[in-house]
């Protein structure tokens, strides 16, 4: 089809060239000898041969000799080639046409080859780039299939390994572009590591070409290519590209899978480590309030009426306070564990920041009663797109932290402003600020500001950081140029239509 099309496109250029040459020759005929007029036709032949295909070039050579004979060799208007010298002219013209045509053809082919190679390199580069960003096997396969499909101008679907065989259900597209009956071909390809189907084995009458994805150790899947529309590359180039893509994809899938395994075992190890450090750190914190509770309760039971009412009240108060502390600790631990295990599910919705801050202030009512808390939130602030409960916890933790590390009755300020698509929140106290080197450890688990003064769990800031990062934000801590510590973090903003 394409060859015929090319011929139909180029032959008018031959006709046009000869017509032009004839016109020039007719003008110059009174002044030049026929041999020199032949040179004009030669120019036309060269021009056509350099652009057109070989057949057009040959026809042009022949036609120009005919035109030359007709118009430039007397008697004009007749084919009376008596002189054998014009036979020589014809042979020379034909030879020139063919030689030039062949040369330009070669140059042209080289040029397309280079372009093809460049396109192939580009495609592979984009493939490896796309695959490098993916951390899940399935995402790698999906990205590869999408790219291959674009580059090959075909529908490409990748089937992944499921145990020892291939599964049509673990595929990269929702829609299955090949009949289920071809499962056996895919399975054969997977088991034997050889291509099959369309273009390889036409007896199978398959709708797709099945290419094995071979990793360095084992086959990881099968890529099915279903042709569609005009291909971007010619047949040979396409085959090379398919092979290269299959190879790249297989290696990327294998690498991702092994990375995931490594990651899993690393997490497992860290979890073990965390568990033991958690146990040692927490057992002390759990046992201290329990000791107070047991002590106070047993004192009241034993001494009964002998204890003066005021002392009795104190003991009861301490039971209640210590129980609160215990409950806070357990809650923090549960939160942290849920974060560590990825069990926390963000329930993101649009909330006014005011509401989230208000929630924290109310929960800490007792703790903050002799503090001046200034909340400055612009009315125009967009809504926060986040989890109300978890973000409320962040403010609770930061405020508790501020109260813990600053002198009584010093003020605390909460301010916010809109920055591009985020809300920047700062919580500032008026205490002594951070000691040098402290900031680096602030957000670590079980880190406490000052020894001896630490009544907390050492988890509050770690949880805050985890919550903010889960929202795609960042948190940082620094000393205010004047006085006090500042925590600054960013939360995702969202604008909803203002209701009437």
């Amino acid at each position: 089809m394409s060859l015929v099309g090319a011929r139909w496109k180029t032959w008018p250029s031959g006709v046009a060239a000869i017509a032009a040459a004839t016109a020039v020759a007719l003008i110059l005929r009174p002044y030049l000898a026929p041999v020199n007029l032949a040179m004009i036709y030669l120019l036309a032949v060269v021009a056509v041969a350099a652009r057109a295909d070989r057949i057009t070039a040959a026809i042009t050579a022949f036609a120009s000799v005919a035109a030359f004979d007709l118009f430039c060799v007397p008697p004009y208007g007749t084919f009376a080639v008596t002189d054998s010298e014009y036979l020589l002219t014809f042979v020379a013209m034909l030879a020139v046409a063919l030689v030039i045509n062949r040369q330009t053809d070669r140059i042209r082919r080289q040029r397309t080859e280079t372009a093809d190679r460049e396109a192939r390199a580009q495609t592979l580069y984009r493939l490896s780039e796309a695959l490098a960003n993916e951390t899940r096997v399935f995402e790698v396969a999906r990205a590869a299939a999408a790219l291959a499909s674009e580059a090959l101008g075909a529908q490409v679907v990748i089937f992944l390994r499921d145990g020892a065989s291939i599964s049509f259900d673990r595929r990269t597209s929702d829609h299955l572009p090949v009949p289920r009956s071809e499962m056996t071909i895919a399975e054969w390809v997977f088991q034997h590591g050889r291509k099959a189907g369309l273009g390889v084995d036409d007896l199978l009458k398959a709708t797709a070409l099945y290419v094995p994805l071979r990793g360095t150790r084992a086959a990881v899947g099968v890529m099915a290519v279903v042709p569609q529309g005009t291909p971007l590359f010619d047949k040979g180039e396409r085959e090379v590209l398919i092979d290269l893509m299959a190879n790249h994809t297989a290696l990327a899938i294998e690498r991702t899978a092994s990375q995931n395994t490594a990651e899993r075992s690393r997490i497992q190890m860290e979890t073990e480590q965390m568990r033991s450090s958690l146990l040692s750190a927490v057992s002390h914190d759990l046992l201290t309030p329990l000791a107070s509770i047991t002590g106070a309760a047993s004192t009241i039971r034993r001494q009964g009426e002998k204890i003066p009412p005021a002392t009795r009240d104190e003991l009861l108060q301490s039971i209640s306070d210590e129980a609160d502390r215990l409950s806070r600790l357990v809650r923090n631990l549960l939160d942290m564990t849920r974060f560590e295990t990825g069990e926390v599910e963000l329930r993101r919705e649009a909330y006014p920041l005011e509401e989230i801050v208000g929630l924290a202030l109310r929960r800490l009512d007792a703790l903050l009663k002799d503090r001046k808390i200034t909340v400055k939130l612009p009315d125009s602030l967009p809504l926060v797109n986040g989890d109300e409960v978890l973000l409320g916890q962040v403010f609770v933790n930061l405020l508790e932290n501020a109260v813990k590390y600053t002198p009584p009755a010093t003020p605390i300020e909460i301010t916010a402003r809109e920055t591009d698509s985020t809300i920047e929140v700062t919580v500032r106290d008026h205490g002594p600020g951070f000691a040098p080197g402290q900031q680096e450890h602030l957000f670590e688990k079980f880190y406490r500001g000052r020894a001896g003064n630490a009544t907390g769990t050492g988890l509050g800031l770690a949880i805050s950081k985890a919550v903010i990062e889960a929202h795609g934000g960042t948190i940082e801590a620094f000393n205010h140029p004047d006085t006090g510590a500042v925590f600054r973090f960013h939360l995702p903003a969202i604008r909803v239509g203002q209701p009437a």
Partner: protein
């Protein structure tokens, strides 16, 4: 005669301190340790209020709630453990009146009990109501803060009205959206939040530290009209 309260709770320690307080406050007390027993008591003795633990051994607490609601309109207060936010919302949507999360202080629970009993006996009259420095004239639809009339949009007023009718009670976002905007808008929680924020700016002295229009995190809102003791 003192109101009768049915406690459906399997944990003996919690039953013990509930018993101590409820008896000390002169309520008549019924106890059930399983869902089955609780349903039987609720049907046979028609208590004035039910305290229901969601984590019962023999049956899902939500199922118990649903069954009780088939025959009883008595206020039900849920006792829920932490991490049961969803159950809490479901319970409220299923007709529970309130909830307290464990661990809770007994004072808080008793305040909820009193509020729920009051709501169930006194029908809110269509008249003026005052809380804090806010005055709502339900007949004339006029709202005054510290004696000054404030203008509310129709939706803001509807919202305040619904909250006021259920004063002291938690209303889930779904319930509020349904009551104010109708059943087709129960998913548009962000509008509700914007309205609540607007209402707070108009009514509360410090909207970041509201004293009346309180948020119940992850659940909904509650309007407090009485000053805590």
């Amino acid at each position: 005669m003192k109101p009768t309260i049915l406690v459906i709770e399997d944990d003996p320690q919690i039953r013990r301190f509930l018993r101590a307080t409820l008896i000390a406050e002169d309520y008549r007390l019924l106890e059930a340790t399983t869902a089955e027993e609780g349903l039987r008591e609720a049907a046979a003795r028609l208590p004035d209020l039910i305290l229901l633990d969601l984590g019962l051994p023999d049956k899902d607490g939500l199922d118990v709630l649903r069954t009780i609601r088939e025959f009883s309109k008595s206020p039900i207060i849920i006792l829920s453990a932490r991490g049961q936010e969803r159950d809490k919302i479901s319970a409220l949507d299923l007709g529970a009146d309130d909830y307290v999360a464990k661990p809770f202080a007994i004072g808080e629970l008793m305040a909820r009990v009193r509020a729920a009993l009051r709501r169930s006996t006194v029908l809110p009259a269509d008249q003026s109501q005052t809380f804090g420095n806010i005055e709502v004239d339900l007949a004339k639809r006029i709202v005054k803060v510290a004696g000054e009339e404030v203008h509310l949009t129709p939706n803001e007023y509807r919202l305040l009205q619904v909250l006021l009718k259920n004063a002291g009670k938690v209303l889930t976002q779904r319930q509020l959206l349904n009551e104010v905007w109708g059943p087709n808008h129960t998913e548009q929680a962000q509008y509700l939040r914007v309205y609540v924020a607007q209402l707070r700016r108009k009514l509360e002295a410090d909207p970041a530290r509201p004293r009346h229009l309180l948020t119940e995190p992850g659940v909904g809102y509650r309007l407090i009209t009485e000053t805590p003791e």
